[in-house]
Every structure is written in structure tokens, then in C-alpha cells.
């Protein structure tokens, strides 16, 4: 069975609604990225240096990291030599397979929840990536699963940040633990953990202020928040999610690395994916840092935060490719 068939079958077992959401959200990505590859393959029938160069540009244009692209292209070159491939069309499935391979990797994409008692999830990231919004959406998701949720307003720095989280709290109907602007965020976390324990909360979602990863003091502050949570609930935080803006370029790698060092990032949330023609940075991060993507933000609505599924992602990304490969297979039969 061909690779695409396998992929399709494993996806068909999943609910159609989710697949559609991925498809819709990634329309931009698909048109910009996949169609370019297709166009290249049909236009350039032969594989030569110019072909590789153009392919390189398309991949880099999708924010797949430079290193990752160089490696990928080298591998493709080797494959072409080994299998003596001459036409570009033959290379297409190999390329897709390699891309899926890059995305999959090890590591579970499921959120790690506490075995018993409270689950604590800490959100970190640079300024303006959508941490608070993500927390709001995730709170909605947990609430609708029947869990008791509490939010901790750890962004005590930015003007209006506490209010923003409060509005989300009201919308979703969950409690928000807060102190005034300028308070020590670690103290807010301490309060929140205590309150959550007392009220038998299932999930505690902790917001933090956005900070650039090269600000040593702010990163130390984050480390303190992390330590306070760990001290109060030994197994916590169960997940530390780095929120990334999908429009971010190569700097995302630096973010993932430095936030990882200070707060033990366990997974990524990729926001604003619906608006960008990219998504390639997912591949770069997966490949270079081995951090799984746990959620993707595919829209502005409350339920537009989806669990990331590399198969869905690739399926949506390569919808066009899959179709054409099926056709050719059908023709063969």
C-alpha cells in the first residue's frame, strides 16, 4: 500500500470535523507551499541543480529552518543518485515522505495530565504570541470536558493583562486568581496553587508575562515561578507550554532553546497558524529541538485551538499531492 493510502486510512478513522478544521485553517499554508512545489514539479520535468535550488527556496520561504532545508536537500540528492531518479514527478512522494518523517518524531502529543489530583500547566513565551488567548481557549476546552478549571494571572507586568485574563475567565466561566499589577508573579502562582488545592481544581492554567528570551533577569524570574510551582506540587508543572507565533522565523529556535533551559519546556503551542502561509517552523523545531507541538491555533473562535496531529497537519498540507497520487495509483490499477 502506498504511503498516501496509509495516511489517508489512518485519518479517515478520525472525526471529519477535526479534519475539516485543519483543512480550513491551513488553506493558506497549502496554497502557498504545496502548490508551489507542485508547480515546480510540473514545470521542471528534469531534476537538476536549478530544480534543487528552487525547491530550497520554496522550503525556506515556508520558514522551514535553513539547516533543516539543507539537510533535506542533501538527502534528496542522495536519493536521486541512489535510485537513479530522473523525472521530478518521481521525487514527489519521496519528498512528502521525508517531510512527514521530519514532523513525526518521537514524543507523545497528548497533554500529560496528573495521575491523580491537580494538573498544572504553565504557559511561557515572548511578548505578543497569544499566551493569554491560548489559556482562554484551553480553559474553554477543559471546561467543556467537565473539568474544574482555574486560571492564574501571572502577567503582572503588562498593562491590562490581568483584565484580559479576567474577561476570558468570565466568558468561559472559571475562576481567576490575581494580584495587582506589579506584584511578584511567583507570589501569584503560590496563591493560585494554594487556592486550587483547597477548591479541588482539576486543571490550573498559569499565565506569565511575555519576555524576550535573551533578558537574563526576566528569565530568572520565570525560573523562580517554575520552582515555586514545583515546590508546592512536587509533580508539577505537568506541562510547560511554549507559545509560539507561527509567523516567527528562525528566532523561534532560539526561543525554544532558551525557554527550555529556564523553564523546562515540554511542548509547543503554535498560534495564528490560520493567517500565515507558513507552518514550516514546526518542521524546523521538531527536527532541531525535538519538542512536540501539542496545540495549534487555527482561528479566532473559542474552539479553534486544536490538538496538533502531525498526520492531520501533513494531510491538510498535502491534500493536493495526495489526490494526484491516488489518481495515478488508480490509473495503474
Amino acid at each position: 500500500m502506498s504511503f498516501f493510502k496509509k495516511l489517508k486510512e489512518s485519518i479517515s478513522q478520525k472525526t471529519e470535523a477535526v479534519t475539516n478544521k485543519f483543512k480550513e485553517g491551513l488553506t493558506k499554508t497549502r496554497t502557498a507551499f504545496v502548490e508551489k512545489v507542485e508547480e515546480l514539479i510540473t514545470r521542471r520535468k528534469k531534476i537538476d541543480e536549478a530544480f534543487f535550488e528552487e525547491l530550497e527556496e520554496i522550503l525556506i520561504g515556508a520558514d522551514v529552518g535553513v539547516n533543516t532545508v539543507m539537510n533535506l536537500i542533501d538527502e534528496l540528492r542522495a536519493e536521486v543518485k541512489k535510485r537513479k531518479i530522473e523525472s521530478a514527478a518521481e521525487l514527489q512522494p519521496i519528498l512528502s515522505e521525508k517531510l512527514v518523517g521530519l514532523l513525526k518524531g518521537e514524543g507523545d502529543k497528548q497533554l500529560r495530565m496528573a495521575d491523580s489530583g491537580m494538573t498544572v500547566i504553565l504557559f511561557v513565551g515572548v511578548n505578543g504570541v497569544g499566551k493569554t488567548t491560548t489559556i482562554g481557549k484551553l480553559a474553554h476546552k477543559f471546561k467543556s470536558e467537565g473539568k474544574k478549571v482555574m486560571l492564574a494571572a501571572g502577567d503582572t507586568f503588562r498593562a491590562g493583562a490581568v483584565e484580559q485574563l479576567e474577561v476570558w475567565g468570565q466568558r468561559v466561566g472559571v475562576e481567576v486568581i490575581k494580584q495587582g499589577t506589579g506584584a511578584d508573579p511567583a507570589a501569584v502562582m503560590f496563591d493560585a496553587v494554594q487556592a486550587a488545592k483547597q477548591r479541588n481544581v482539576d486543571v490550573l492554567l498559569c499565565d506569565t508575562a511575555g519576555r524576550l528570551q535573551n533578558k537574563a533577569n526576566l528569565m530568572e524570574e520565570l525560573n523562580k515561578i517554575f520552582r515555586v510551582i514545583q515546590r508546592e506540587v512536587p509533580s508539577a508543572p505537568h506541562e510547560v507550554l511554549l507559545v509560539l507565533d507561527a509567523t516567527t522565523g528562525q528566532n523561534a529556535l532560539s526561543q525554544a532553546k532558551l525557554f527550555g533551559e529556564k523553564s523546562g519546556v515540554t511542548g509547543l503551542v503554535l498560534t495564528k497558524l490560520d493567517g500565515t502561509a507558513k507552518g514550516g517552523i514546526v518542521i524546523a523545531i521538531r527536527n532541531e529541538l525535538n519538542l512536540p507541538v501539542k496545540f495549534v491555533g487555527l482561528g479566532e473562535k473559542m474552539d479553534d485551538l486544536q490538538e496538533f496531529d502531525s498526520e492531520q497537519f501533513v494531510h491538510a498540507l498535502f491534500a493536493g499531492l495526495i489526490q494526484s497520487s491516488e489518481e495515478s495509483e488508480a490509473a495503474e490499477e
Binding site: 482562554g136 498593562a159 484580559q164 476570558w168 509567523t247
Partner: protein, 457 residues
């Protein structure tokens, strides 16, 4: 500092070029490949990179270049000029309407930093004795209005809002009216972040634009944006006719290639750079400084400005004369060291010097402020006579100095040896340059640099 990665990369490339007497077409090609990778890694859009490389190549592989004495330098020069041009030539000022109020519209993606930049812009205007009015048109994000209100309160600028139930177009209209009635000479309209592909919201932005007829439309761009920066800038530019760009979060460790891309596709100047979430005035963006920084030519302009503001010109001239005639003594040495230290922490200065960015990577090149203090202690432990006539420093004097400064005789010896070498060098140097030397503002700097290179530690 932003762009540092790119600097290192390009320095490696040109280090190779510099060593060669002649540059062949192959050399140029190799150098350009590195430049291309470096720019791509810095998130400069690949189309922009392609054009850039093509331009430079065309100019580099020319007859003139090949015949010139140092072809490497010629290529660096071309790359530098093209890069500066790409970044937007000289810096730009904020437009001013003939008929107040001047209206500034802020637009951009979510989380780019529009609201914070609006606050900073207002602060900048307040500093210049203007009366800005902030208009809160972000009715979508929870507490966005509140954020602007808090910022307004912090900096002491009025904020106009009609809550989040009125349409942004109406808010803009009423805000403008409000400004006219209250004599505000600048109106800053903060809009909601929106994706450039969201047609409904882009249409709304166009309507705000129609109502407000802004004199400035500033696109706020996150410096960390990747390849997408081009599409964002293109579509905002297509809808709104941007007049300028604000580049935010430049204090991160991003290489900031987005700056190049945005400028290249819109042709709009990058007017301001924003760093940090504390409300400080926006900083003007200096493309020419940025470009030479990228190329590892150091931020000499900033350094000269710094030197001019803190080094006494008369003293510098006198110092230069002494250096030329080799009258330089330990007293002068001490004085000069103090002047240099006035400029700021040594490693920050090193960053600005050409070629230093690369040297700093080598671990043993770490400049130790403590070491300077130690050198100072040694010199200060000398008697007046000893400082003026280092020749008289015999063993027993050296021993005394070592005890007095809390160092060892070996360290004292080393310093004296280096000082002697330095004097000899200066003598050679001055005989080479003749009595006149370079003119003008460079004088003080030259004195400083001449010694900076030979700091005896």
C-alpha cells in the same frame, strides 16, 4: 544586540576574501553563497535575498573590481552600500499635517506591539511638547482598551474611548472630533491586530482609514517575523498605503531580517525601532548604522558620537601630540584610560569596533574590567617621577610598586614592558603619518583607538 549573528557570519566570509590579493569570479560566487545563507538564516525573505545577491554579484564581477588593489574591500563596500540602500537610506521623521491634528494610524498583526508602540509614540510626542490624543479602536481583544488607558495614565496622555460596543470607524470619527475640540495636535489611532488575509477586518481598517484620513500609516512589525513579513507588509501596503514601519522587539536576539524584507517590498522607510515593554520614547531607526553593523564594520558612528560627547577635545589633541613625539608617560596613560572608561563598559565599546565582534567569540579575548582596575592600581602606585620617567623603574622600585598595588612583580614587569612596546610603536606610527595626521573629529578617536588596540592587558 540584534543582527549580531549576521555580522559574525559575514565577517567569516569576508575574512576569507580579505586575505587574497585577487578575487576571481569563483571567489565572488563562494562569498555570495555565504552571504545568501547568512541573510536567509536571518529571516530575510528569499526573494529579497535573491535580488540582493544578483545586484551585488553584477557589480562585483566587473572589470573595475578585478583591477583594484584590494578586491575584497571592494566587495565589502558594494555589499555595504546595497545593504544600506535596502534598509532605506537615511532615517525618516514623522510627518506633520499642515492643518492639525496630525493623524497617525497604527496597524499590524496581533501581538506585534501596536498598543505598546502607540504609548511609546505618544511619549515621544509629549517629550517634544506636543499634545497627543490616543484613540482606542481595538474593541476585539479583551482589555485592549484598558491597556491603552493604563498606558495613557502612565505617560500622562489623554485616551479617547467609546467602550467596546461601538464600531471602530465611529470611534475614530468621534476621536478626531474630540481632538479638534480639545486642541490635540497629534491623534494616534490604535487599531485591533488583524491577520492580513482577514478580509472583513481589513475592510474595517480601510473604512477607518477613509474616515480618519491619516497623515501617517505606520505598520507595526515584530522584528522576529520570518518569511511571512513580506506578505504581511505587501497586503497591508496594498490596502492602506503605508507611510512607514515601526520595528518592535528589536532588543531580542533575533537577527531581524524582517527589517530588510519589509523595506524591500513596501519601499516604506523603517521610521522607528522599539525595544522593551517599558514605556520609553520610540527610538529612531538608523539604517546606515545597522547596515555597517551587519557587515562587522562596527557601529563607528555611534562610537564617534559617544566619544565626542564624553572626551575632552583639547585633552585629546594634546594626547595626540604627545603620542606623536613619544612623550607619552604613565600619567598620560592613566588619564587616557579614564577617558576611555567614561565611554562605558569596555565590552560594549568592543562591540562597536570593527572586527571586534568576531574576536569576542574567542574565549580568551574576554575583556576583564577588573584587569583594568589592576593596571590602574599599578600605575597609581608609582611616584610622580616614575610615571614621568619610566626608565628609572629599577627592581627595587618595581618591588615596591607591586606591594603597593597588591600585585606581583611579574605583573608590574609585564605592564612596563607593554608600555615600552607601545611607545616604540607610536614612534614608528607617527613617523609614518607625518606631523599633520588625519583631520577633524577623528583626532580624538584616533588617539583612543591607537591605544585601544594596544591596551596593556
Amino acid at each position: 544586540m540584534a543582527f549580531e549573528g549576521l555580522t559574525n557570519r559575514l565577517q567569516n566570509v569576508f575574512g576569507k576574501l580579505r586575505g587574497k590579493g585577487k578575487v576571481s569570479e569563483d571567489d565572488v560566487n563562494e562569498a555570495m553563497r555565504e552571504v545568501r545563507l547568512a541573510l536567509l538564516e536571518a529571516d530575510v525573505n528569499f526573494k529579497v535575498v535573491k535580488d540582493f545577491i544578483a545586484k551585488v554579484k553584477e557589480r562585483a564581477i566587473g572589470q573595475e573590481t578585478m583591477k583594484s588593489f584590494t578586491p575584497g574591500m571592494v566587495i565589502i563596500d558594494i555589499v555595504n552600500k546595497e545593504l544600506t540602500e535596502l534598509m532605506g537610506g537615511t532615517q525618516s521623521k514623522l510627518a506633520k499635517s499642515n492643518k492639525p491634528p496630525t493623524v497617525i494610524l497604527m496597524a499590524g498583526l496581533q501581538g506585534a506591539g501596536k498598543t505598546t508602540s502607540s504609548g511609546k509614540l505618544a511619549k515621544m510626542l509629549l517629550k517634544d511638547n506636543h499634545r497627543p490624543l490616543l484613540v482606542a479602536c481595538d474593541i476585539y481583544r479583551p482589555a485592549a482598551i484598558k491597556q491603552l488607558q493604563v498606558l495613557g495614565e502612565q505617560i500622562g496622555a489623554p485616551v479617547f474611548t467609546l467602550g467596546d460596543q461601538t464600531s471602530p470607524v465611529d470611534i475614530a470619527r468621534s476621536g478626531l472630533q474630540h481632538a479638534k475640540e480639545n486642541g490635540n495636535d497629534y491623534v494616534i489611532i490604535d487599531t485591533a491586530g488583524r491577520l492580513h488575509i482577514d478580509e472583513a477586518l481589513m475592510e474595517e481598517l480601510r473604512q477607518i482609514h477613509d474616515v480618519a484620513k491619516p497623515d501617517e500609516v505606520l505598520l507595526v512589525v515584530d522584528a522576529m517575523t520570518g518569511q511571512e513579513a513580506v506578505n504581511v507588509a505587501e497586503s497591508f501596503h496594498g490596502q492602506l498605503e503605508l507611510t512607514g514601519v515601526v520595528l518592535t522587539k528589536l532588543d531580542g536576539d533575533t537577527r531581524g531580517g524582517a527589517a530588510l524584507s519589509v523595506k524591500a517590498v513596501t519601499g516604506c522607510p523603517i521610521k522607528f525601532a522599539a525595544t522593551g515593554e517599558k514605556i520609553e520614547p520610540l527610538e529612531p531607526f538608523h539604517p546606515e548604522r545597522m547596515a555597517s553593523r551587519i557587515l562587522g564594520m562596527g557601529d563607528m558612528l555611534s562610537l564617534i558620537e559617544k566619544a565626542q560627547s564624553s572626551i575632552d577635545a583639547d585633552k585629546a589633541a594634546e594626547m595626540e601630540r604627545k603620542m606623536r613625539t613619544a612623550e607619552f608617560t604613565f600619567e598620560d596613560f592613566l588619564e587616557q584610560m579614564e577617558q576611555v572608561r567614561k565611554l562605558g563598559p569596555i565590552d560594549q565599546l568592543m562591540d562597536m569596533l570593527p572586527g571586534m565582534g568576531k574576536m569576542k567569540d574567542m574565549k580568551n579575548m574576554k575583556v576583564d574590567e577588573k584587569q583594568i582596575t589592576r593596571v590602574e592600581a599599578i600605575v597609581k602606585s608609582m611616584t610622580k617621577d616614575e610615571k614621568r620617567k619610566p626608565e628609572i623603574l629599577n627592581h627595587s622600585r618595581r618591588k615596591r610598586i607591586a606591594t603597593g598595588s597588591g600585585t606581583s612583580v611579574a605583573e608590574v614587569n609585564r605592564l612596563i614592558k607593554q608600555f615600552d612596546d607601545m611607545r616604540k610603536m607610536m614612534k614608528q606610527f607617527s613617523s609614518m603619518m607625518g606631523p599633520k595626521g588625519p583631520k577633524g573629529g577623528m583626532k580624538g578617536l584616533k588617539g583612543m583607538l591607537g591605544k585601544g588596540m594596544k591596551f596593556p592587558f
